[in-house]
């Protein structure tokens, strides 16, 4: 095991340093920002409670610090969202295609009595290291989202935190290995993997959107906090009949209410939103993990099949 890790390190030290070390640093940075955000916001609460509105110099500094971190959070969360794709593609796609392009595969495949075993030895150490780092990154991102107001882990942050980050990385990595095996050249394999992943993502996104929309229900605006909830439409509900009244119809019925001086609360009507309830969020996360796990398994099966018949040289 130690020999395997040593050889992987020697063969791919730069990839490991950049593509495993980079996300690890990002996870560390996010964890620090999340912790700082929590401390700052707690300090601000104390400030507001003590001063009753007029802030001291130290409290003003806390406000500035809080603003800075609030601005930083979306950037870090955005980087977390992109990380599994970059890491998965750049680690997975060149892994076997490099061996084929650089002509090391003929020696390796003639020495190893099982190509599947060779593939496992070649891919698993990196895959496991990547998965662990991306899990840490997902956890850090989750901590940051929780620490940043409104602190809801809802559909609006879907796939930007938690185990989905790692699962996305795993799926992209395995797809990269398959494409690398088929193409047999590094750069085309990286580009082709990127293309396959984009198509797959769009497909998954459309399926998920469809599912979320099909599970959306009309909910009164006052009934719940809608932060983190995916809203697909708004309307009004007639308080007496319960029938839906479109926004346009409500505006035409009560023009004064919606005018510059109006209250925007039409009498006898309640604002409702078509939204997927936040309770469904964990189910969608689990479903997303399941979809990606299935894709990874299918891709792994393809990799095992292809490596069995593929020539060890380009072409």
């Amino acid at each position: 095991m130690i020999t395997t890790l040593r050889l992987v390190w020697r063969m791919q030290r730069w990839e490991v340093l950049v593509l495993i070390g980079g996300p690890l640093l990002l996870a560390g940075a996010i964890a620090v920002v999340a912790w700082q955000t929590s401390v700052t916001l707690a300090g601000l609460d104390t400030c507001y409670a003590a001063t009753g509105g007029a802030l001291s110099t130290s409290c003003t500094a806390l406000v500035q610090s809080s603003n800075g971190m609030t601005g930083l959070s979306p950037i870090l969360v955005g980087a977390t969202t992109v990380a599994p794709f970059i890491v998965g593609i750049l680690l997975g796609a060149p892994l076997v295609s490099h061996e084929i392009e650089k002509r090391t595969a003929p020696i390796a495949w003639s020495l190893s009595l099982s190509r599947v075993r060779w593939l496992a030895q070649r891919t698993l150490p990196l895959l496991i290291a990547m998965a662990i780092v991306l899990l840490l990154l997902g956890a850090a991102s989750e901590a940051l989202i929780r620490a940043t107001p409104p602190g809801e882990l809802g559909f609006r942050f879907f796939a930007m935190h938690g185990p989905l980050i790692a699962m996305r990385g795993i799926a992209v990595f395995v797809i990269g290995v398959v494409v690398g095996l088929l193409v047999g050249r590094m750069l085309p394999a990286i580009l082709a993997t990127g293309l396959v992943v984009i198509v797959l993502l769009i497909g998954l996104q459309l399926v998920r959107e469809g599912m979320m929309r099909s599970e959306a229900i009309w909910t009164a605006a006052d009934d719940r906090d809608f932060s983190g909830v995916m809203i697909y439409g708004s309307a009004y509900s007639d308080d007496t009949t319960g029938q839906l009244v479109t926004d346009e119809e409500a505006y035409s019925r009560f023009p004064d209410v919606f005018g510059p001086q109006g209250s925007a609360k039409p009498p006898g009507l309640t604002q409702v939103y078509l939204a997927t309830p936040p309770e469904r969020y964990p189910i969608f996360v689990a479903r997303g993990i399941g979809e990606l796990a299935l894709i990874s398994l299918i891709a792994a099966g393809l990799a095992v099949w292809i490596v069995g018949w593929r020539r060890p040289d380009v072409g």
Partner: protein, 277 residues
């Protein structure tokens, strides 16, 4: 033919672009010694060797290693094979020592000490990055990896092609020594006849995907002569270095034939004419 370790029966291989690399190869290579597989570029030498390694699927016919089909049962066939690929490439970032570790990981029973000892005899620095070695040293590392498998069959796909004359001589010396001491069977492909003449006991001439000659070197030398005048029973005619036509004959003629002339004669018979180098 039952003692053959490498066999091909009606073996044909066509690549996707429609080119036939091999056309109906029938061969049975017996155990022991070094067999030279000689032919020009694109004669099908690499394809034939790769078919025995299990890298190529025959389009027609069959290939076997110790009676095992290498395409259907690759792991069992590979267990009998040590392979040195054409222009062997070693791993960037790995030292020679690391390569031996890698081989020991990949191949059950890999004799690391034996391979290491072979390299030490050649004063190859095992701690150095493999890619920083000279071409001859890299070829020796590839040979040591094949020898370390302790496989009874060694398949060497033009390992001499990119080596200087001294490195070629050293390589052949190590190979001959290993085959003699281990009792292995080696098949060495090359398009340079002079390199293999002294090391090989058996000769296969391959041209345009077909076996043109398969015999022991001593028999081939004993049975072939050169006629300086045209003969109806000549195997083929080709140009001597001075440009005059000479004729390869099976039987008695004007003078003995060199191995290179025999090879050139059979290659010429396969495609028309040839010019002696």
């Amino acid at each position: 033919m039952t003692d053959a370790v490498l066999e091909a029966r009606g073996l044909a291989k066509r690549y996707r672009r429609g080119v036939w690399a091999l056309e109906g190869i029938d061969l049975a290579i017996p155990a022991g010694g070094i067999t030279a597989l000689v032919g020009p570029n694109a004669a099908g030498k690499s394809t034939l060797i790769k078919t025995w390694v299990g890298f190529e699927k025959p389009t027609r016919g069959s290939a076997s290693v110790m009676g095992i089909d290498p395409w259907r049962d690759r792991s069992h066939a590979l267990a009998h094979i040590g392979y040195v690929p054409q222009s062997p490439a070693l791993y960037d970032g790995l030292s020679v020592d690391d390569h031996l570790d890698l081989a020991a990981q990949l191949r059950p029973g890999f004799d690391r000490a034996y391979a290491s000892q072979r390299l030490a005899q050649l004063n190859i620095p095992v701690g150095r990055g493999a890619r920083s070695l000279s071409g001859g040293q890299q070829a020796q590392v590839a040979l040591a990896l094949a020898l370390g498998t302790r496989a009874p069959i060694l398949l060497l796909d033009e390992p001499l092609a990119s080596l200087d004359p001294l490195a070629r001589r050293e390589f052949l010396h190590v190979l001959t020594d290993a085959v003699r001491s281990d009792g292995a069977t080696a098949l060495l492909s090359s398009h340079i006849v002079t390199d293999v003449e002294q090391a090989c006991g058996r000769l296969i001439v391959l041209g345009v995907g077909r076996v043109l000659l398969h015999d022991t070197v001593s028999t081939a030398l004993a049975e072939h002569t050169i006629s300086l005048t045209e003969r109806p029973d000549a195997v083929a005619s080709f140009a001597a270095p001075d440009g005059s036509p000479i004729f390869l004959v099976r039987g008695d003629a004007d003078r003995t034939a060199t191995l290179e002339e025999i090879v050139l004669g059979y290659l010429a018979s396969g495609r028309g004419t040839a010019v002696a180098a």
